[in-house]
Symmetry: C2
Subunit: 293 residues, 2 copies
């Protein structure tokens, strides 16, 4: 069992660290918010007074933070204290450029590094069923895998530094686009007098099939487990989908890729968030395409 | 076995009529193009000299024509000759408004009617494995079903008059949108140094999964049967996807539905067609997002 430092113990990091403790690892945690750190202690995480105290003598360091700038600040701090050959894993979803910068910093400090953003949300974090999309060397991946397995059920090595972030934003760009497409199609069907069930029956079994309709149907009825049946309680919050779509557009701009539908999806989720819907499930965007009554 | 009139014996109608003959039906066919009519004769269709000759004494009439105006013209002609209680089935993909008008005309002539557009392309038409999406009364559907089963393997009753057309354009709008989304994601992945296989492995097994990536992957390799492995030979031609997307946008305009992504997809396929790609498979639109080399 490893001695692991865990920086960022919020909605995702908290339950992930708790699962590491359950698997028998020794986890030293740090979070800027005292209340969050206290909550983590209840699940067996040992609280550190600052990040460098947490990472001292750690074999593995994990960060789970909101944005690229937080990760770069944290890694700058961490890498001053971390011993050579420490494995540093960033599980945050951040921009590809910052992720690659973080890898370079780790290399300069003679540490191994991995970007390993997750999908599966807070439910997956609690249940230990997250998917990890990892970018980094074979050696870093091999060392990280057994640690990540304590928190997830699917660990995919996507390629070199930044490839995990790239896979996540490309996947979520497809998801954001297809969800909006499915929502538009359901509203068009309503206007044309075609029932939700009829469109579901056709599309979910033919060329319109996609996760956004088959698994996460944005209207109540056809898929009983989808958030549409539960008042659009997330699930996957619209604000987080917007964050991922914006990351995809930053990456497209920086790399020179042309993504008109990705851009449109980002704009539509931005409108939806501005209307006060950031905390609702992202499939609730279907309501934006309907008349307000 | 029924006496069936079949009007419109082109790329789709020809093989469909041939399958009716194979099932033992008596098929009288008509097409404005003499060469097309002659080709149909080779498969056992009896050639009529005009539409009204074909429909005389027919128990079932099937039309398979390019656009709504062709269907309305043909049905005006047909319904003057058809006996009361004849079942008239339109298998064309046309606009919902024209389809509903055709149903009304049939009702006024005391005929039963069904709109039953198909998916599955010319391959499905030849193999007899089409999907039919049907709109009309229960009685019309019940009478049509055994006839349609000679040409397809899945027959879905979607609702009342026009519901078949509505289901088809809603489904194909989802397909057009998700295909563009998948293409944009692959090109973004290329720019970010993420391999096609890595993106496929992640997206096809998680929330990015959709028919456009899992079954019809627009890059060669991951799905060996997709047109990307065959120089983008259709498959489903870009011009036909554009037609369906335009029908969805006509329906959205006429019914007051808001479909920004559907509109964007229609515009992108229009650009792609203008560049001379109408006859290529619709998944070739990925090339429009890449630098020309």
């Amino acid at each position: 069992m490893a001695r692991i430092a865990f920086i960022g113990l919020g909605n995702m990091g908290g339950p992930m660290a708790a699962n590491l403790v359950k698997s028998g690892h020794e986890v030293l945690g740090f979070d800027l918010a005292a209340s969050v750190l206290k909550a983590a202690e209840a699940s067996g995480v040992r609280a550190a007074s600052h990040a460098s105290q947490a990472v001292k003598d750690a074999e593995v360091i994990i960060t789970m933070l909101p944005q690229g700038r937080h990760v770069l600040t944290a890694w700058t701090d961490i890498l001053q204290t971390a011993a050579q050959d420490t494995l540093v894993i960033d599980c945050s979803t951040i921009d590809v450029e910052s992720s690659r910068k973080a890898h370079e910093m780790a290399k300069a400090a003679s540490c191994l590094s991995l970007d390993a953003p997750v999908s599966g949300g807070t439910g997956g974090a609690s249940a230990g069923t997250l998917t990890f999309m990892a970018g980094g060397s074979d050696e870093a991946f091999a060392r990280a895998k057994p640690i990540l397995e304590a928190m997830g059920k699917k660990i995919v090595h996507c390629g070199e530094a930044g490839a995990g972030q790239a896979a996540k934003i490309c996947n979520n760009m497809i998801l954001g686009i297809s969800m909006v497409g499915v929502c538009e199609a359901f509203v068009l069907a309503e206007k044309l007098g075609l029932s939700h069930q009829a469109l579901f029956d056709v599309a979910s079994t033919s060329s319109g099939q996609c996760w956004a309709i088959n698994t996460y149907c944005p209207v109540p009825g056809p898929v009983p487990t989808s958030p549409a049946n539960n008042g659009y309680k997330p699930g996957f919050a619209a604000a987080l989908m917007l964050k991922d779509l914006r990351l995809s557009q930053e990456a497209a701009l920086a790399s020179g890729a042309s993504t008109p539908m990705g851009a449109e999806a980002a704009q539509l989720f931005a409108l939806f968030e501005k209307q006060g819907n950031g905390g609702r499930d992202f499939s609730a965007i279907i309501e934006m395409f309907r008349e307000k009554v």
